[in-house]
C-alpha cells in the first residue's frame, strides 16, 4: 500500500506541474471574451508543421461554477478547432479554421504556428447566464493532434488529456449585469 501511495504522489506531482501559459479574460458588452496563447507548445508545433506534418488543435473553454462541497458545475463549454496543413515543396501552409471553415494560405511557418497557438477575442459565454452570487472560473485546455483528423476516440481519452492553459476567475459585476438584462 505504501508503494501505491508513493507512486500516486509522484504521478500527481507530475500532473501538478506549473504551466507558463498566458490566459486573459475580459467582459465586453455582456459577453465574456478570452485571449489565450500557449508559449510552451510553440517550438513543438513549429517543428511539426515545419517538417511537413499537418497539425490540428482544439481549444476548449470551460466556465465552471465553484462549489464548496461538490465538484464544480460546468456552466458553459466552447470548443474551437484549428488546423494547419503544410506543403513542403511549395513551402506554403494552409490555415484552416475548423469552426468557421475559413481557409488561408501562408508562406510563413511562424504565422501558421501562431495560428494554432493563439486565440484572440474568443467569445465564451454571455454574462446573463451567470449568477452574480456564485463564483465562476474559466478553465482553458489545449488539445493537440498530429495529423488532419480530430482523433477523438476512446483511446485519446487516455493518450491526450490536454494541456492546462490555466484557470481564470470570472468577476461578475452585478450592476452591469442588471443593466444588460434590462
Amino acid at each position: 500500500m505504501i508503494a501505491f501511495y508513493v507512486v500516486f504522489m509522484l504521478l500527481t506531482h507530475v500532473w501538478a506541474e506549473e504551466t507558463m501559459e498566458e490566459t486573459h479574460v475580459h467582459i465586453e458588452d455582456g459577453v465574456v471574451f478570452c485571449d489565450v496563447q500557449s508559449f510552451e507548445q510553440e517550438a513543438y508545433i513549429l517543428k511539426v508543421i515545419g517538417s511537413g506534418s499537418p497539425m490540428t488543435v482544439f481549444w476548449q473553454f470551460d466556465v465552471l461554477e465553484q462549489r464548496k462541497y461538490w465538484l464544480d458545475k460546468e456552466v458553459a463549454r466552447v470548443r474551437l478547432g484549428r488546423q494547419v496543413i503544410p506543403d513542403l515543396v511549395t513551402q506554403r501552409w494552409l490555415l484552416r479554421d475548423l469552426s468557421g471553415g475559413v481557409i488561408k494560405h501562408t508562406n510563413d511557418a511562424h504565422e501558421a504556428m501562431h495560428f494554432l497557438t493563439n486565440m484572440r477575442h474568443i467569445a465564451v459565454v454571455d454574462v446573463s447566464v451567470l449568477e452574480p452570487s456564485n463564483t465562476y472560473t474559466l478553465d482553458v485546455h489545449l488539445f493537440i493532434y498530429e495529423g488532419e483528423g480530430e482523433h477523438e476516440s476512446w483511446l485519446s481519452l487516455f493518450s491526450n488529456a490536454g494541456f492546462d492553459m490555466g484557470s481564470v476567475p470570472l468577476h461578475i459585476d452585478a450592476t452591469k449585469q442588471q443593466r444588460i438584462d434590462e
Binding site: A3, F4, V6, V7, L10, L11, V14, W15, K47, V48, S51, G52, S53, D87, L88, V89, T90, Q91, R92, K104, H105, I144, E146, L155, F158, S159, N160, A161, F163
Partner: protein, 731 residues
C-alpha cells in the same frame, strides 16, 4: 540449517509484497506522460497488466499472510511458483534489456545523419524545382509588363482577334500552358492555351474562377504567383493586373502545368521527408513502443508461466498436501485415514507406503490399546483386591504377617504391630530375622520351628512379656505355595488370647471355688454350732476352763474366718451383674461420710453436683474397700471427686508409708495380700467391679501419698437406652 529454512519461509511470505513494490515502480516508469504525443495505448496496456499482476500478488500476499502458513503445502507451492516465475522472469528481463539495447542501436542506425542530409537535399531539390518554376512565372510576368506592346493593348469588343493573336504570342513566348484574360468584373474575356495532349484533357480546359491569389494581386496592384493542385495535375499560376490610366481594366492569368513525373517524384520526396521527420520526431515514442510491446509480451509470458506454475505446483503439491493432512490426522490420533493413489509415480508409491504404514500402525495401536485395556482392568482389579485385603487386614483383630521364602516381611498389619508391641520399631522390620528383641524371641522361635521342620502348618500359644506386660498369643503358621508356584512363603497369624485365657482361668477357678465353698461351707456351720454347744454344755465340766475357752473360741473364730473367706470366694466367683442406675454423687459420698463419721482422719472434700451411672451398692463396696485399706495406714485420708466431660473420677488418698515398688504390680491380683487376716481378694473384686462398669481402678501413686483412682464413664456419654456408646474411646 533449520533456522535458515525458517528465515527463508518467513521471507517467502513477504515476497508477494516485494513483487507488488517492484511492479509499482515499473508502473511508474511505464505510466504515459501527458506530453507524450504518440500512441500511448501500449503504455496503458502495460499499466493495466502490471496493475492486475500487482493486485494478484497483493491479494495472494494478504491471503498468505492472514493464513499464517497454516494451509498445508502453501509454502511449498509458493516456493515452486516463485522459482518457476523467477526462471521465466530472469531470462525475460535479460531479453528485454538486450532488446532495448538493440532497438536503441537500430534506431541510431536508422536515423543516421547521412540519411538526414540526403533527405534534406532531396527536399531542397524538389523545393528548388517549384521555386524555379514560380521564379520563371514571376520573371515572365515581369517581362509582360515591360513589353512595349502591352500598354497599346486595349480591351475592345472588336479587338478580340488581335487580342487572341497577342496572347498566343505570349503563350508561346513564355512557354505557358494557358493564358486567360479577365475584365475588372472577373469575367473571362480571352483565353488561349496549348493543344491538350489527350482527348480527355478537354475537361481540364474549363475556366476556373479567380482565386484569392488573383484578388490579392488586384489588391496589391502587382503580380502574384500561386500554386494549384488539381486532379489533373499541379499548376503554377501567375496573376497580373492590367491598368489603364491607373484604372484596372483586366487581369491576366497564366498557367504552367508542372511535369507529372517530376511532381510525382517531388511529392514522393515530400511524403518520405514528412514520414522520416515524423518518425524522427517520434523516435523516442517508437523506442518506447518497442519496449512496451516487449514488456507486454514479457508480462504475458510471466503471467502464463505463473499460472502454469500454479497449476503444476497444485498438481505436484496435492499429494503432498494430502499426505500432510493425513499425517496431521494421525498425529491427532485418527488412524482411519487413507491417501488416494491415483498414479504410478514416486508420490503414488509414497502414498501407498504411507497407507501400508498407517494400517500397520493402526493394527499395532489397536493391539496396544487392547493390551492396555486388559492391563488397566487387571490393575484395577488388583488394586481393588489389594484395597480389600488391606482393609480386611487393617480391620482384623488378628495380627498377620506374610513372609516370602527368604523370610522377608511382605505384609504386616497394624494389629500385628500392636500385638507384638512393634509400634516403636515401625518400619525397621523388613525380615522375620529382625525380630531380635527379647520379647519377640518366641515369635522368631515359632517361625524357625515352622521353617526348619518343614511343617505345612503349626499352632502354638506364645507368651510375650514386654515392660512387665504379658500378652498371651495364639500363633498359627501356614506354609503358602511351593517352589514351583509364583509365590511361596509363610502366613503367620497371631491372636491375643490373654483375656480369653484369663476368662477361661477365671471361669475354671470360679467353678472350683464355688464347689469348694459349697463343700467347705456346709460342714462349717455344724462345726461352729457344735463347738458353741460344746462350749455352753461342757464348760462347767472341764478342769481347765481357760484352756477350754481358748480352744473352743479358736475353733469358732477360725470357722468364722473360713466362712468370711468362703463368702469372698463366692463373691468373686459369682459377682452379680451390676444394676445400673443414675445415682447422685453427693448422696453416695454423703452415705460414706456418715458411715465413717467416727474416723476423724478421714475427710471428704467437695460434693460435686452430678450423677453417676452405676450400681450404687457395688461402687459403694469398692470405695469402702479402698477407704478401709487407707484407714489401715492410720494416716490422714482424703476422698474427693473430679468430673470431666468423659469421666467421673473418685480419688482415695492417704498419707501413709506407701506401697512397695516390688509389690505394686501384684496388688490387683487375687489372693495377694500384705495383711495376715486379709483374703487378698478386695482389690481384685474392686477392679472387677470397675471393669463391669466400663471403668477402671488404677494405682496412680504408690509412694506417699498413696493415691487410688476409680473412674467411671460420665453419664453424658450414655445413650437414651441407657447403654454405653461402644464407639467412645473411653468406654
Amino acid at each position: 540449517m533449520v533456522g535458515d529454512i525458517q528465515w527463508l519461509t518467513q521471507w517467502v511470505r513477504f515476497l508477494p509484497f516485494v513483487v507488488v513494490l517492484f511492479l509499482s515502480v515499473l508502473m511508474y516508469y511505464v505510466w504515459p506522460t501527458h506530453d507524450y504525443f504518440g500512441s500511448s495505448y501500449l503504455n496503458w496496456v502495460n499499466v493495466g497488466l502490471l496493475l492486475a499482476l500487482a493486485l494478484a500478488a497483493f491479494v495472494f500476499g494478504i491471503r498468505n499472510f492472514v493464513s499464517k502458513g497454516t494451509s498445508v503445502g502453501l509454502h511449498l507451492r509458493t516456493k515452486l511458483v516463485t522459482i518457476m516465475v523467477l526462471m521465466v522472469l530472469v531470462p525475460s528481463t535479460i531479453l528485454q534489456i538486450t532488446a532495448n539495447q538493440v532497438i536503441t542501436k537500430g534506431l541510431d542506425v536508422w536515423f543516421d545523419v547521412r540519411v538526414d542530409n540526403l533527405l534534406d537535399k532531396a527536399m531542397s531539390l524538389a523545393q528548388g524545382f517549384y521555386a524555379d518554376i514560380e521564379a520563371d512565372m514571376e520573371h515572365s510576368l515581369k517581362q509582360v509588363i515591360r513589353d512595349d506592346n502591352f500598354p497599346a493593348l486595349e480591351v475592345t469588343p472588336w479587338g478580340a482577334l488581335v487580342l487572341n493573336q497577342y496572347m498566343e504570342k505570349l503563350l508561346h513566348k513564355y512557354d505557358w500552358d494557358r493564358l486567360e484574360l479577365f475584365d475588372a468584373s472577373e469575367r473571362l474575356i480571352a483565353s488561349v492555351h496549348k493543344q491538350p495532349e489527350h482527348a480527355d484533357a478537354l475537361q481540364s480546359m474549363e475556366t476556373k474562377p479567380i482565386t484569392s491569389a488573383g484578388r490579392l494581386s488586384i489588391a496589391l496592384g502587382r503580380y502574384t504567383v500561386d500554386h494549384w493542385a488539381r486532379e489533373d495535375g499541379e499548376y503554377v499560376v501567375g496573376y497580373l493586373p492590367l491598368y489603364s490610366q491607373r484604372r484596372l481594366i483586366g487581369i491576366l492569368r497564366a498557367e504552367v502545368k508542372l511535369p507529372s513525373e517530376i511532381i510525382s517524384s517531388a511529392r514522393s520526396i515530400e511524403a518520405d521527408y514528412r514520414s522520416y521527420r515524423e518518425l524522427d520526431r517520434h523516435r523516442q515514442g517508437i523506442q518506447k513502443t518497442f519496449m512496451h510491446t516487449l514488456m507486454i509480451a514479457m508480462t504475458l509470458i510471466v503471467c502464463v508461466a505463473g499460472m502454469l506454475a500454479l497449476v503444476f505446483a497444485r498438481r505436484l503439491t496435492a499429494p503432498v498436501e494430502e499426505l500432510a493432512t493425513a499425517l496431521e490426522k494421525v498425529k491427532s490420533g485418527n488412524f482411519d485415514v487413507l491417501v488416494a493413489v491415483d498414479s504410478k509415480d514416486e508420490l503414488a508409491s509414497l502414498a501407498a507406503s504411507f497407507n501400508s504404514m498407517i494400517a500397520q500402525l493402526k493394527y499395532n495401536m489397536d493391539t496396544l490399546t487392547a493390551t492396555q485395556h486388559e492391563l488397566t482392568n487387571a490393575l484395577v482389579s488388583s488394586r481393588q483386591r489389594q484395597y480389600v485385603l488391606e482393609n480386611l487386614l487393617a480391620n482384623l483383630y488378628s495380627g498377620v504377617i506374610l513372609l516370602d521364602a527368604s523370610g522377608d516381611i511382605r505384609l504386616m498389619n497394624e494389629t500385628c504391630k500392636a500385638l507384638l508391641m512393634l509400634s516403636e520399631h515401625k518400619g525397621d522390620k523388613t525380615s522375620i530375622y529382625d525380630f531380635s528383641e527379647a520379647h519377640l524371641k518366641p515369635v522368631l522361635s515359632f517361625f524357625e520351628t515352622l521353617q526348619t521342620q518343614a511343617l505345612d502348618d503349626l499352632q502354638q500359644e506364645l507368651v510375650i512379656t514386654h515392660h512387665l506386660q504379658s500378652v498371651k498369643i495364639l500363633a498359627r503358621g501356614t506354609l503358602l505355595g511351593s517352589e514351583d508356584d509364583v509365590f511361596s512363603g509363610w502366613l503367620l497369624v497371631f491372636d491375643d488370647i490373654t483375656q480369653l485365657a484369663e476368662a477361661q482361668r477365671h471361669r475354671a477357678w470360679a467353678e472350683v471355688a464355688q464347689r469348694l465353698a459349697h463343700e467347705i461351707k456346709n460342714p462349717l456351720t455344724p462345726i461352729k454350732l457344735s463347738t458353741e454347744r460344746v462350749k455352753r454344755r461342757f464348760r462347767e465340766q472341764v478342769d481347765d476352763v481357760r484352756v477350754f475357752d481358748t480352744c473352743t473360741d479358736a475353733v469358732i473364730n477360725q470357722v468364722e474366718r473360713l466362712q468370711r473367706l468362703l463368702a469372698d470366694f463366692s463373691n468373686l466367683a459369682t459377682l452379680p451383674k451390676p444394676k445400673m442406675e443414675l445415682v447422685s454423687i453427693a448422696s453416695l459420698l454423703q452415705e460414706l461420710e456418715e458411715l465413717y463419721s467416727p474416723y476423724s482422719q478421714l475427710t471428704f472434700e467437695g460434693m460435686p453436683r452430678g450423677e453417676v451411672y452405676c450400681d450404687p451398692d457395688q461402687i459403694r463396696q469398692v470405695l469402702i474397700n479402698l477407704i478401709d485399706n487407707a484407714l489401715a495406714t492410720k494416716a490422714h485420708v482424703r476422698v474427693y471427686v473430679e468430673m470431666t466431660d468423659e469421666q467421673i473420677r473418685f480419688y482415695v488418698q492417704d498419707d501413709g508409708a506407701g506401697i512397695d515398688e516390688n509389690i505394686k504390680e501384684h496388688i490387683f491380683e487375687p489372693y495377694f495380700s500384705t495383711k495376715a487376716e486379709g483374703s487378698g481378694l478386695g482389690l481384685a473384686i474392686a477392679q472387677r467391679i470397675s471393669e463391669e462398669h466400663h471403668g477402671q481402678l488404677q494405682l496412680l501413686s504408690a509412694s506417699s501419698p498413696t493415691r487410688f483412682c476409680i473412674w467411671l464413664p460420665n453419664v453424658k456419654l450414655r445413650t437414651k437406652g441407657g447403654e454405653l456408646d461402644d464407639s467412645n474411646p473411653g468406654s
